[in-house]
Amino acid sequence: MIRTSSLTFAYPGQPPVSFPDVSCEKNEHALILGPSGTGKTTLLHLLGGILSPASGQIMIGDTPLHSLRGQKLDSFRGQHIGIIFQKPHFIRSLTALENLLLAQSLSGNKSEKSRALSLMERLAIGRNAYKKTTAMSIGEQQRLAIARALINNPAIILADEPSSALDDQNCRQMIDLLLEVATENKANLIVVTHDSRIKDSIDKKIYLD
């Protein structure tokens, strides 16, 4: 569950930008839509605890994300927020499985190999477990990015333009898979995009302008 109210953010030396309120109840997902330059990524980073708002509130469950700082913010982000970026990036020196184990350990959880492996099986990339991520196809990398976002059972999954690099068919599969696994894991999925192909996948829409 996530709820924001009267969020503003100011880049140094610029007037503050205000954002519409975002709220997702249990099992609810949302799309944040808007053309480039309207602050979609900024809003996503605010929701993910990557940026801190100038004013306003972000409640994730019972936790006021806006008031967390430093290590507390880092730990909370690691444990409760899963983020999928536009392009899948990983730690290049590690294998796919090790990337997931690292994500577990960074969040403060125990590294559970069995959970990481079953998650990879669920996302149909089980055979890539011991490959370096650079040896995987772009589609497989996207799935691994989803696995990494899910590994710590987050309350919120944020996805930043997850479909921009994919063709129509893969785009469809990607968004369906995201919705499936988010629902399975009882997490709110919030997708930021300007990709009109996925407009109809999620009912709740928030427009930025």
């Binding site: 990557i50 880092d74 982000r77 990036h89 290049r92 020196s93 577990q104 350990s105 960074l106 969040s107």
Partner: protein, 444 residues
């Protein structure tokens, strides 16, 4: 998978970059380790052989040469001295001297020097135990432990000596009496281990038999092997040298020497009764000014030698430090450039829950891994190098060099190496820990 493991994997992921830094590091550590081991063993070797000797009396020449020849057995004698002139110092009743051991040098066997001397030399060098027995008559020899081992000498073996210090079969005295091994000393850690000891009279007698230069080509080794074959090499019991017996033998050898003032010996090793006695202090000057002999103080000459060697090793040490600096710069550059390539990875780690502290720790660990790898490689190389060079150095210096020894100074090498690794990583680590999350993620 934690930060430490991750830093290790990051090092392995760039093997060529890492190897370059590791090798530079290892080179520097290896060189410093080698020098430290060498210095330590060089000084210990020299000090062990001081054996409480206060003065060496020999023929006029270079005092350092006299010391090197008579105490370390690594240089030619400055000449011989007639017993007539040296007699006062051989007098057991000399008021200033507590011990005076004559040395008569000139022959060798298998490149190990044969020294004509008295059994009192055992006490001087702290040799207490011998397998078999000490020499009692002419042509009986006691071999030092290293000499016996290298030459495969056993109690009861016979051999012929060679003139000079070279192992040259053409110079073998292969007629007259052979030497008979009566005893083998237990290791003393001194130059005694490298010597073959007999009476001074034996050394003269070998040369009296030698009317013409040897024409035989049969090598002394063959001769030895020949005689060795006939023997059962059962080891003899090890006995403690009886100092009373040794003293009686010494006295009789000394009085026999003093009865032949026209004969020559090479030098006398002397211990004072009291070092602080003003007359003892003046003895060196008196001998040099008023007799045809020369006296040299081992402590003084060895200090001079240290000073000469010191500047050489110091220069090498500076070079090693210079390499260490280059190694540190190499670690710095390799971390710094990889940091640029890994900015997004840093941001990912932050998003995943790692605080700036963990990122700092990760990059510091990467520097330390390289330092630790270089350190281990360097220590192994330094010790292995010392071990390999040991044989060569042993021949030159006549005492043992080993790479299997650990010196306390190496703790400083370890400490220093880790510190260098740490310092080289601090700046990149600071930079990495300050990765701007939002900007880095938004850029790519």
């Amino acid at each position: 998978m934690n930060i430490l493991k991750l830093s290790w994997k990051n090092i392995l992921a760039k093997p060529l970059n890492s190897m370059m830094s590791v090798m530079l590091f290892a080179l520097s550590v290896g060189l410093i380790t080698f020098l430290t081991l060498f210095n330590d063993q060089f000084k210990k070797g020299l000090d062990n052989n001081l054996a409480g000797i206060d003065l060496v009396i020999g023929a006029k020449g270079s005092p350092l040469q006299l010391i090197l020849n008579s105490m370390y057995h690594i240089d030619a004698p400055t000449g011989n001295i007639p017993i007539g002139e040296a007699a006062p110092f051989l007098n057991p009743k000399h008021p200033l001297l507590s011990a005076a051991v004559p040395l008569s040098l000139g022959d060798s066997y298998g490149a190990f020097r044969i020294a004509g001397t008295t059994p009192s030399i055992f006490r001087m060098y702290g040799a207490r135990q011998v397998e078999g027995d000490i020499f009692k008559n002419d042509f009986e020899v006691v071999a030092g432990s290293a000499a016996a081992q290298k030459l495969h000498l056993h109690v009861g073996d016979e051999f012929y000596s060679t003139h000079g210090l070279e192992d040259n079969p053409d110079l073998t005295h292969d007629h007259g009496n052979p030497f008979v091994v009566t005893g083998i000393l237990q290791p003393t850690g001194t130059v005694l281990d490298q010597l073959i000891l007999t009476t001074p009279q034996t050394v003269w007698k070998v040369h009296e038999h030698d009317t013409t230069s040897s024409t035989s080509t049969e090598s002394s080794h063959d001769e030895h092997a020949h005689s060795a074959q006939g023997h059962e090499h059962s080891s003899k019991p090890i006995i403690t040298i009886d100092s009373a017996v040794a003293q009686v033998l010494t006295d009789s050898i000394i009085s026999a020497l003093r009865a032949q003032p026209e004969k020559e010996i090479t030098s006398i090793l002397v211990r004072f009764k009291t070092r602080t006695n003003i007359q003892s202090l003046n003895l060196l000057r008196n001998i040099n000014a008023n007799t045809g002999l020369m006296a040299a103080s081992p402590a003084m000459e060895i200090n001079r030698l240290y000073a000469m060697m010191g500047s050489g090793t110091e220069a090498l040490q500076y070079m090693a430090i210079l390499i260490a600096i280059v190694a540190a710069i190499s670690i710095f550059i390799s971390l710094y450039t990889s940091l640029k390539e890994r900015r997004y990875e840093m941001a990912l780690l932050r998003v995943g829950g790692a605080g700036p502290g963990k990122l700092f720790l990760m990059i510091i660990s990467e520097g330390l891994w390289i330092a630790i790898l270089g350190l281990i490689l360097g220590l192994v190389a330094g010790h292995a190098g010392m071990h390999l060079a040991g044989g060569l150095l042993e021949k030159g210096y006549k005492y043992q060099f080993t790479g299997l020894q650990w010196v306390p100074e190496e703790m400083w090498i370890i400490f220093g190496a880790l510190l260098v690794g740490l310092l080289a990583a601090v700046l990149p680590a600071l930079q990495g820990s300050r990765t701007d999350l939002h900007r880095t993620l938004a850029e790519s």
